[in-house]
């Protein structure tokens, strides 16, 4: 597909810029304003670098850079294509927003060890972009592991008993699956093909392995990238909710979990190749596992009172949409799942930031406590509602676009049965998200309902918290009106298969 490729250091630099930023962040630990300045500079540079590569990518080119041949025939190499670009854009742009939000959140709650927090946040972003721009399976794995480890101190930031348990679950699931499943699968692929394991648009496994091996590999990869939260390896995600909210927002709604599904997408399209999978008819297996996850996680989400946990289970379900789309293997479904990475990211980060803002302003964590809170925090809950609409897939928010592609993609693939799943899950999504916003503005309690609204009585969190979530809410709407860019990037990936 890639007719032309450019060799440039930019993708490498885009990845490591935040790693380099760790030094100033750590050194400026005593001066919080300068320290956060360093974070912002790095975030903007990163976004700028990613953006600078956009025109070339849109023109159908790819950008490559090889750093190091580390094992015979196997390099640490970067390569930017449509899918990587899409994910890179989402992650790097949302980092800017989250950085601002982190400042409001961390200072608002007077959290300890903020320097460590910002340092590891930056490292995590490096790993995320590294995954996005990885040119081969090996580089992908490298950054995938780096991300698991770099996020551990963030998840366990509070260093209390709860954090320890959450952190344990987190690493147990992520490391055991990656070492236990992905590593052997990767080495098997390497031994079988003897190749560089570079992602290519038609995959490179075709002809090297038989059907049984393909099925085993497929399952190893699918479950191995447990960051995608596919059941039964999803429990780490609710466990990771002990983290401070900015971490949950950026990492567990965007970076980490999307890295999981991104890896799966990459493996399906770049390693196996959709044609090869289609010829073996293997997608269906994964599709039904994903469908199961969607329904079950939505049901669990309904029963959660802790807002962040409910959102976490919602994320588990939404991620499976993406896997489902990838597993359907039809062009439109794959397009849908790629765009859904961005749409869900924007929607879910909004929801998480709202949850965090509520916690900062009022200290409330449970949905049952949020009755009537909309009058005190109108902006937050307005943004929450938009985010909810996007996640459910209702206008005027971007989620609709990707769901549209997923549904039509399912029809293309001839899996009409899955339409029922989409229907059920959309209803469930609405059932667990909409009431929160609704109750906040129209409380059950007549006493609260009778209270008149006035801007003077509002107790919003600090501006650093409110601005980012408003921005992402607006972004969700913009993506509904103008999804062309995303579709174009996704189209670059599936276009090659005709």
């Amino acid at each position: 597909m890639s007719s032309e490729s450019i060799t440039s250091f930019t993708p490498v630099f885009a990845s490591i810029v935040s790693l380099l930023a760790v030094l100033p962040i750590a050194l400026l630990g005593k001066k919080p304003n300068l320290r956060e300045g360093a974070t912002f500079v790095a975030a903007f540079i990163k976004f700028g670098l990613v953006l600078s590569m956009l025109p070339a990518i849109l023109a159908g080119k790819t950008i490559e850079y090889t750093i190091w041949e580390i094992v015979p025939n196997l390099e640490i190499a970067f390569r930017v294509d449509g899918l990587g670009m899409l994910f890179g854009l989402v992650a790097s742009s949302l980092w800017i927003v989250t950085s601002l939000y982190s400042i409001g959140y961390m200072r608002g709650l007077k959290e300890h060890s903020q320097t460590r927090f910002f340092s590891f946040f930056a490292v995590s972003l490096s790993a995320t972009i590294g995954v996005a721009f990885a040119a081969n399976l090996f580089t992908l794995y490298l950054f995938y592991e780096m991300l698991s480890l770099a996020t551990y101190p963030l998840v366990t930031h509070h260093q209390d008993k709860e954090a320890r348990i959450g952190g344990r679950t987190y690493l147990t699931y992520l490391l055991s699956t990656s070492i236990g499943f992905v590593l052997p699968a990767m080495i098997f692929v390497y031994v079988k093909t003897g190749s560089s394991m570079d992602f290519s648009s038609d995959g490179f496994l075709n002809g090297h392995i038989g059907a049984t091996e393909a099925l085993i590999l497929l399952l190893l990869f699918t479950f191995g990238f447990a960051k995608s939260g596919l059941m039964p390896f999803h429990s780490w995600l609710p466990g990771a909710m002990v983290a401070p909210t900015p971490v949950s927002a950026l990492l567990h709604a965007v970076a980490v979990v999307k890295v999981g599904v991104f890896c799966i997408l990459r493996v399906y399209t770049g390693v196996f190749g959709t044609d090869f999978l289609q010829s073996l008819d293997l997608g269906v297996v994964v599709a039904w596992i994903a469908a199961f996850t969607i329904v079950v996680s939505s049901l669990i989400a309904l029963s959660q009172d802790n807002l962040k946990r409910r959102l976490a289970f919602s994320t588990v379900g939404q991620l499976s949409y993406i896997i489902l789309g990838a597993a359907l293997l039809s062009d439109r479904a794959v397009t849908g799942s790629m765009t859904h990475i961005a749409m869900h990211a924007v929607g879910k980060i909004t929801l998480f930031m709202c949850a965090g803002a509520v916690f900062v302003a009022t200290g409330k964590k449970y949905i049952s406590q949020m009755d009537g809170l909309g009058k005190k925090m109108p902006i937050t809950f307005a943004a929450f509602s938009i985010g909810a609409l996007s996640v459910i897939g209702l206008p005027p928010a971007g989620g609709l676009i990707s769901k549209f592609y997923l549904v039509t993609g399912a029809m293309d693939a001839g899996q009409s049965a899955l339409l029922v799943i989409f229907l059920i899950s959309t209803i469930l999504n609405a059932a667990y998200l909409l009431p929160i916003g609704y109750r906040a503005f129209f409380p059950k309690d007549p006493k609260l309902a009778a209270e008149p609204f006035s801007w003077k009585n509002t107790q919003e969190a600090s501006w650093q918290c409110i601005t980012p979530l408003s921005v992402t809410a607006v972004l969700a709407v913009i993506l509904f009106i103008k999804p062309q860019l995303l579709l174009q990037l996704a189209g670059l990936m599936v276009g090659g298969n005709g």
Binding site: I70, V71, Q159, A163, R164, I179
Partner: protein, 506 residues
């Protein structure tokens, strides 16, 4: 000088050890600098030798100018040149670490300690570079005798452990000697390379005596390397020895014995005999699987830090024995690479354990309470070592697993692959248990967000430079070995490729 480099590798520490023994008592201050200097010399000589081997191929050095096969010959090829660099490098780092540790643990025996320390390294280096089977026995005993003494210098429990080691170690060495005797009867030679040539020339591979020799030698070497179930001497010895002793024995003793096993199996008996004629590959790989699992699971049960690490050594020995017996060239490459990588990662974690013991006086893992705040740099060192043992890229441990698993996949030994993965996961559990204690403290606060200032009034309290430097240097070495694994593997391949076996080429 360069011509004599192979001999200098071990002669320098040898002569300095005599010097230390004679003068050390009167001038205690010279022991440490002299030891470090001699090991720097040894490292320089072995690096020079490695350079020559890469450029010129196998070096044959005749000790005292006597002609082989009568005289003792050092025949240095890519394999032992590489291992010699690792051994002398590990020795040097451990020597630097010893500065404070020896003063703290055995203050009244400083000169004796360094004498034995240098003799031990002489013995180990000698085993690596010698080409003579009997000479190897003598050097084996040199290193064994010194290590008994180095272990027995520890506290109460160490003496009994050392005693056990004396008994079992002697059995191992005697077995080896016995096997060499059989080889001598059959071939009339003691030069390893000559033995092989004689075996081929006389075509006596079918002789039961050769089979007996092979079995006896292999079992002897297995005892010495603590291959499960012949490992009983190891855990207590290394756990209770003075920290410098375990920092040098843990990484080197078992690894050098693996080298000896590879050398004897391939150079003396030949791969055709070991893998085609005997065809014991399946059994021994299964034994190594058991060793890996037994070592890892036993490590899980330990709360004593160094004992836990000692059981890990047993698991790692299983890795390497299994890797060799996969009968696949990738497996062999992985095993040899793992000798290097494991020497450094074991050194890394044992240095860490030593620092903790010297600083806190506790051997339990609870000694690590809140260490991230108190000793951040030390923890960085541990993290790299731990990641390497777990097998997280780009540390050296990841790549050794990479090659070993590749060998396992290519030769179809899935049980070995699975054992490796399980052991990686167990290592992850072990080290994250340590990291958790160091990060959260032994009893983390119940409530939300406790603050650093509340619990840790004291700022960082790092170990002294002479302890920290070797730890961090080892950590850096692990990364370098990992990143430059291809160059190392290229050297190894030049050794491995002479044995034409295995499924895939390199």
């Amino acid at each position: 000088m360069i011509e004599q480099a192979p001999a200098l590798i071990l002669l320098v520490p040898f002569f300095v050890s005599i010097f230390v023994a004679l003068l050390g008592n009167r001038f205690q201050g010279i022991c440490f600098p002299l030891s470090v200097l001699s090991l720097i010399g040894s490292v320089a000589a072995s690096v020079t030798t490695l350079g020559r081997v890469i450029n010129e191929g196998t070096i044959r050095y005749r000790l005292g100018g006597w002609e082989p096969p009568m005289g003792i010959e050092f025949r240095i090829d890519a394999l032992n040149a590489l291992v010699a660099v690792a051994v002398s490098g590990v020795g040097l780092l451990a020597a630097i670490y010893s500065k404070r540790a020896v003063l703290a643990e055995t203050p009244d025996k400083v000169s004796q300690y360094y004498t034995l320390f240098l003799l031990l390294i002489t013995g180990l280096l000698g085993m690596v570079i010698t080409g003579d089977a009997f000479n190897l026995y003598v050097l084996l005993e040199v290193s064994a005798l010194t290590s008994y003494a180095l272990i027995a210098m520890g506290p109460k429990r160490a003496t009994l452990a050392a005693y056990k080691y004396v008994i079992i170690g002697t059995i191992g060495a005697s077995f080896y000697l016995l096997g060499v005797g059989y080889l001598y009867i059959k071939t009339g030679s003691l030069n390893m390379f000559d033995i092989h040539e004689q075996l081929i020339a006389r075509d006596i591979f079918d002789s039961p005596a050769i089979l007996v020799a092979f079995i006896v030698i292999t079992v002897g070497v297995w005892i010495k390397m603590a291959f499960f179930p012949l490992h009983a001497w190891l855990p207590n010895s290394y756990a209770y020895a003075p920290t410098t002793s375990s920092a040098i024995l843990g990484p080197l003793m078992t690894k050098v014995m693996i080298y000896v096993m590879i050398r004897l199996t391939f150079t003396v008996f030949g791969s055709d005999f070991a893998f085609i004629q005997l065809d014991w590959s399946d059994i021994i790989v299964w034994m190594s699987v058991v060793a890996i699992l037994a070592g890892s699971i036993s490590a899980l049960a330990q709360t004593d830090l160094r004992k836990m690490l000692s059981f890990l050594i047993i698991a790692e020995v299983g890795y390497m024995v299994g890797g060799v017996w996969l009968a696949d060239d990738m497996g062999l490459v992985g095993s040899i690479y793992h000798i290097i990588a494991d020497a450094f990662m074991t050194l890394c974690v044992f240095l860490f354990a030593g620092i903790i013991f010297v600083k806190t006086g506790k051997r339990d893992i609870t000694a690590l309470d809140g260490l991230f705040t108190k000793m951040p740099l030390t923890m960085v060192g541990l993290l790299v070592g731990a990641f390497s043992l777990i097998g997280i890229p780009p540390t050296a441990g990841f790549f050794s697993k990479w090659y070993l698993i590749q060998g396992g996949v290519a030769s179809g030994h899935w049980e070995y692959v699975i054992a490796l993965l399980i052991s990686s996961l167990i290592n992850a559990v072990l080290f994250f248990r340590i990291i958790e204690i160091a990060y959260f403290g032994v009893k983390p606060a119940e409530g939300h967000g406790h603050h650093d200032s509340d619990t840790h009034e004291s700022g960082p309290n790092e170990a002294s430079f002479s302890m920290l430097f070797p730890l961090l240097a080892t950590a850096a070495a692990l990364l370098v070995i990992g990143l430059y694994n291809q160059d190392i593997v290229a050297i190894i391949s030049s050794f491995v490729s002479q044995f034409n076996f295995g499924v895939i080429g390199i």
